[in-house]
């Protein structure tokens, strides 16, 4: 991605997310599968931009790579809990934390990512893929609602969407290692 493209995306996405937030939160599917990833993605875009303007951030990312990684992992995993999805609707403090912590998770993930060894990155890719499959499966077949704010149909739809994400993501990973023309290192 070029910087210009990043800038354009960032400038476009931020207002889109803010304006659409109410609408995205009306359904569990768009709340969890669209809004939360977008918040992380915006943070990631921002970090990408920052890094090009401030090389010192690269050094920072190198030095604190493990802490940054842990922060983003814990934050992202917490936001997969149905409990927080509900809380973000009824408790303004949790809603505030959502808008703060997820972009920050995106930022820290980008800052540390390039400093992580290949094997660790591989594990993270696979674990994310496995998590999508596990959550998608659970949401699809659970007889009870996990969120009080959303209906069971919505939850099942989310299950389908997460499994769809897993399929696309898995194909992307597979094609990049099976076909990928460029040589690592």
């Amino acid at each position: 991605m070029t910087d210009n493209f990043r800038q354009a995306m960032f400038v476009m996405l931020v207002p889109v997310i803010i304006i659409s937030h109410h609408w995205l939160e009306t359904s569990m599917t768009s709340h969890m599968a669209v809004q939360l990833p977008l918040l992380v993605f915006v943070g990631a875009l921002f970090a990408g931009l920052l890094q090009t303007y401030s090389p010192r951030l690269v050094v920072f990312g190198q030095r604190y790579r493990i802490s940054l990684l842990l922060y983003s992992l814990f934050t992202i995993s917490l936001w997969m809990l149905p409990r927080l999805l509900d809380a973000a609707l009824y408790q303004s403090s949790i809603a505030f934390l959502k808008w703060l912590s997820l972009p920050l998770a995106g930022i820290s993930l980008v800052l540390c990512w390039r400093h992580l060894p290949f094997v660790l990155r591989g594990i993270l890719h696979l674990e994310l893929l496995a998590t999508l499959l596990r959550l998608g499966w659970l949401y699809l077949i659970a007889p009870q609602r996990y969120c009080v704010s959303y209906g069971i149909n919505d939850q099942q739809q989310l299950g389908h969407v997460l499994l769809g994400y897993a399929a696309v993501y898995g194909l992307f990973l597979a094609s990049s290692v099976l076909l990928g023309g460029r040589r690592a290192n």
């Binding site: 290949f118 094997v119 591989g122 594990i123 696979l126 674990e127 893929l129 596990r134 099976l178």
Partner: protein
């Protein structure tokens, strides 16, 4: 083509790791064989044992053998692959350490926690023991498998890194590009092809394992989160099937690399070789429904797939490895040392094991053979007479003296005793299957007991010969060379 990236000083450390792998492998193989013989002896009423202990030992035998076959396979793959790409010694060791941690967890779950859910932990049995074992014990078992899986994944990802660094893509490493372009690079190492195949299938298998193992754990502690038993079965058999298959595909590297040293003939990649391995990559992934032929609720097309692919997947084995090995020795002045004998026995065991496997993979046969002792019969064929001899051939080769001229006659004798007793042992399984004896039964009907008694005796001889090999190999542990 060959690049040596490890510095000379790193060698002793890696050699030590390999020795640790080998010592662990031998010890666990012997112990698990002991467990197996005990089971047959209990069924044959030679030993009395309560069913709870029988099923605990059965779980131990299954999990232990699958795990150690994987570990032995990794040591063979690592040993040869590091001649072509640069692997990270630390991750090779990490796999072993995680393996041992996992083994301790599993041992604790089984011996202390009385977990006896079978190595396949078929959902929802781990959570429904009827009070025999606790959820913590089941969790320790499942967690142990998870830890072992992580260890293997670390190793495979390091292999992926190394292969990508050298070949740019796994497709290239597997030789798919050569198949497409038709220009075969005969210098492309068979070891790289086999390793790539194993890496691909086992990564996908581990992914399935990671999904089902974690959900099993979740279900143990949060019983309201239930999963679908049929999907769980699919994922478990996919994971289990791929993992145990991959052990042979790793071990067979020893045949490709070592047999030529005894025949004096090269074993190079050819078009059929590459095609066979590419086909195997796909088939190992899609063949698992042959475990589910008696689940009529499965879609019919998947059952047809299970039968047809289980037939087809025998072809690469037969036409590339078996055929290749036979051409290797055909009118060649073979030095019939112990390793060469084991390697040829291994190829025979693999090819012969395919026969009862394919027959049982046919739905009409499966209707009356599934979950009888025919099933352990077929997989003991290619594990006991295929996979294990590959490992033994490999170990006898890398630990032999530089200029070994005097042949160890006792090992030669041991080879014949092992081969004959193992064949008889396996045929007792197969014959019991013909007699409709169900598998995984702690107590047998009186009519079945004679077969069990013969099996226990043959098994005891197999165990003793393996114990003898183990003693011999442990004594030679210090002779192990990384460049043998």
């Amino acid at each position: 083509m060959t690049t040596r990236t490890q510095s000379v000083t790193a060698q002793p450390r890696e050699r030590l790791y390999l020795q640790l792998y080998i010592a662990t492998t031998l010890a666990i193989f012997v112990l698990m064989m002991l467990a197996g013989v005990v089971m047959r002896a209990v069924q044959g009423t030679y030993i009395h044992m309560s069913p709870d202990w029988f099923y605990q030992i059965m779980t131990l035998h299954g999990a232990g053998m699958v795990g150690i076959a994987g570990l032995a396979g990794v040591s063979i793959m690592w040993y040869f692959l590091r001649r072509y790409v640069s692997l990270t010694p630390g991750l090779f060791l990490a796999n072993l350490i995680l393996f041992i941690i996992g083994v301790v967890m599993i041992l604790g779950a089984i011996l202390l926690g009385k977990f006896g859910g079978g190595w396949t932990f078929l959902y929802p049995l781990p959570a429904k023991s009827m009070g025999l074992w606790s959820h913590n014990a089941a969790a320790a078992y499942v967690g142990g498998l998870l830890v072992i899986g992580i260890g293997f994944l670390l190793f495979y990802l390091d292999v992926a890194r190394a292969l990508l660094a050298k070949y740019g893509s796994l497709g290239r490493a597997l030789g798919v590009n050569q198949l497409i372009s038709g220009r075969i690079d005969t210098d492309h190492p068979p070891t790289v092809v086999a390793s790539t195949m194993v890496l691909i299938v086992n990564t996908i298998g581990t992914l399935a394992g990671a999904v089902i193992l974690v959900l099993t754990l979740v279900n143990l502690y949060y019983p309201t989160m239930q999963i679908d038993a049929l999907w769980a079965k699919n994922l478990i058999y996919f994971f289990g099937h791929v993992f145990i298959n991959a052990t042979i595909y790793m071990a067979v590297i020893a045949v490709y690399e070592l047999l030529p040293k005894y025949t004096g003939r090269p074993w190079k990649v050819t078009r059929p070789f590459l095609a066979a391995w590419s086909a195997s990559t796909l088939m190992v992934i899609i063949v698992y429904p042959h475990h589910l032929l008696m689940d009529m609720v499965m879609p019919d097309w998947m059952l047809v797939l299970g039968q047809v692919i289980s037939y087809l997947s025998g072809i690469p084995v037969l036409l590339v490895t078996t055929y290749g090995a036979l051409v290797q020795i055909h009118h060649a002045k073979v030095r019939w040392d112990t390793p060469a004998k084991f390697l040829i026995l291994a190829v025979f065991g693999w090819a012969a094991g395919v026969v009862p496997a394919i027959i049982d993979g046919t739905i009409v046969v499966n209707q009356v053979m599934h979950n009888t002792l025919w099933v352990p019969g077929h997989f003991h064929f290619y594990l006991l007479l295929g996979m294990l001899p590959m490992v033994l051939g490999f170990l006898f080769h890398i630990s032999r003296h530089e200029n070994e001229t005097t042949k160890d006659r006792s090992v030669g004798m041991g080879f014949w005793i092992f081969m004959v007793s193992a064949l008889l042992f396996i045929f007792m399984f197969l014959y019991s299957g013909v007699m409709s004896v169900p598998r995984r039964w702690a107590e047998h009907l009186a009519a079945w007991i004679p077969y069990d008694q013969w099996a226990a005796l043959f098994g005891l001889v197999v165990l003793l010969s393996m114990l003898f090999f183990t003693v011999k190999l442990l004594a030679r542990l210090t002779h192990i060379r990384l460049e043998a």
